[in-house]
Symmetry: C2
Subunit: 331 residues, 2 copies
């Protein structure tokens, strides 16, 4: 059975949503959770009948959001460090943390190591599409100043994830650029374009708007850019919902309208709510690490755990090794 190490203390709201998410996941899936954190805080949150199904590794050091990611390597008693070591030692197959994301990425990369052929692991996110599906965007923040060979690896790794975890047989792959034409792009994307030409599923350049129209399953970009795209998307969505709320508040007729449209807004929220997705897999490391949002609720944590299980169960890393080798043989 898959064993998942869970940083029980890292999120913005303390252990409560994390433990709750873990218990909810246990109700639906078979796996072995290992919670890392303060027993005295975790135990009271665990319903009695789950206490023997969950093991706890005791530690009381938590890396806070204001700590530097570089501290992570030194603080060997931190929840994230210990969760990573559990994966490294084979006591767990994957880890989930809603704590300091820089620390999680640094530790997972340094302590677990990169897969053979991977220069830089990438952070994966899932964007909702008009067609009701999801497109994979990577990297969304693990790297800046990526080189063309990195963007190629992101594309290949994203393809493996889409294929094996999301069950997309022949994932289409796009290169994020400032125009669809081959001639568009900056120095890095133009060089990447050449390297990806002929790769199965590669569709060429895609624009910012294409992320949401479902035209591509996987979109590769530098982490500086991916981060901006992600934060911009969240900003637009929250601005629109804020404006709607403001306007509604001012008009009694609109309040009635909003009540009637409640289900619509609920469905919409579901479509764009990150809690429905879970976390962001860090792809390209030996092992499995899901980087969750600090503000994750129980639902988000539950889904992040499913992501980890699915990542391990579907042998994503084996497929990546295979695909990278195949690509390198031809190119």
């Amino acid at each position: 059975m898959v064993k998942i190490a869970i940083d029980a203390m890292g999120g913005d709201f303390g252990p409560e949503p994390i433990v709750k998410g873990c218990v909810n996941a246990l109700k639906k899936k078979q796996f072995i959770p290992i919670l890392v954190g303060k027993k005295s805080e975790i135990l009271p949150l665990l319903p009695k009948r789950y206490r023997d199904k969950i093991s706890i590794v005791e530690t009381d050091d938590v890396i806070s959001m204001s700590d530097a990611a570089t501290d992570a390597v030194k603080r060997k008693e931190s929840t994230i460090y210990i969760a990573t070591e559990l994966v490294k030692n084979g006591e767990a197959d994957g880890l989930v943390s809603a704590g300091h994301s820089g620390a999680t990425m640094t530790l997972a990369t340094i302590r677990l190591g990169r897969l053979k052929g991977v220069s830089r692991p990438a952070l994966v996110t899932f964007m909702p599409t008009k067609t009701g599906g999801k497109s994979i965007l990577l990297d969304v923040g693990a790297n800046v100043d990526s080189k063309p060979e990195h963007l190629v690896q992101f594309a290949i790794m994203g393809g493996c994830y889409a294929q094996n975890v999301m069950g997309i047989k022949e994932p289409s792959i796009g290169l994020l650029a400032n125009g669809e034409e081959d001639s568009k792009g900056n120095e890095v994307t133009k060089a990447t374009y050449k390297l990806l030409q002929g790769y199965p599923g590669f569709k060429g350049n895609v624009e910012g708007g294409d992320i949401f129209n479902g035209s591509c399953d996987v979109i590769t970009c530098d982490g500086f850019i991916g981060n901006l795209v992600l934060k911009t998307s969240e900003g637009v969505a929250s601005t629109i919902s804020g404006l709607i709320k403001d306007y509604i508040r001012k008009s009694p007729i609109a309040i009635t309208g909003a009540l009637l449209m409640r289900k619509v807004f609920k469905l919409l929220k579901k479509q764009i709510d990150y809690a429905e997705i879970g976390g962001a897999p860090l792809i390209g490391i030996k092992g499995c690490a899901i980087v969750s949002h600090g503000k994750s609720n129980a639902k988000a944590m539950e889904n992040a755990i499913y992501q980890a299980i699915s990542y391990v169960d579907n042998h994503v890393n084996d497929h990546i090794l295979e695909e990278l080798e195949k690509y390198n043989e031809i190119n």
Copy 2:
């Protein structure tokens, strides 16, 4: 009186919305419009009482969207070329075109020339903020692979625009990056940060989401990135509105709700509709050029004309020259 050369043929919908926008602008503002295009198509669209208030420069060559921007320089009879020459020769003070934007930018840059001290002109766009205002984002597509000194110039030029056209006394300036901390950024933005430190109004790094929260009046970024941010924003907004429409269609109760919320949606559309803004000024050239969206309707064209008038009336270029000189003296 300000004279504005208007490419009457360039938009996706032919001369109709352009001529209509021009006539509507004439009803409200005093200026001299010079329409460039086919007289035979323009005249029938002009109400008789406006015929003597508008002059037409006859030409029948129009650069289409599928033409290369580089062709623009050769096709000296094209509407965009002639409109640019009118500005160059002093027969017009500014130009507006909804035609091939690459051609407009190329011609404005090459034929009019750059302002002293400006290495690269930048395309300016306006993003709606939660606080009901607008923030200026530049560059959104004139340049890729911008260097730190370019981003500094964009910041300074954006500040001049905010101050003189938008009337913001002390505009705050942000540098678009993947995190607010000084340590965040890529090579280019980190170097830009150092160059902008101490510049009046400079607030440091801002993230993608900050574009919409009104925390900064001016945000500087590379054109590749600005284009992606802009297209992503449009993509998110159109996806959300599409999802709402889809859901509403499926539910009779929601239809009633939507009818009651009509005014809300109308206000929302106004807030995020580019027609309300007009076009994108190309800033940093000798003269004034407003690059309008190909899909501009009459309202968008009318507003683009106001932008051009306002740009000229407020002597934006003089202020830019002054500010750049001041910056270069200190640094």
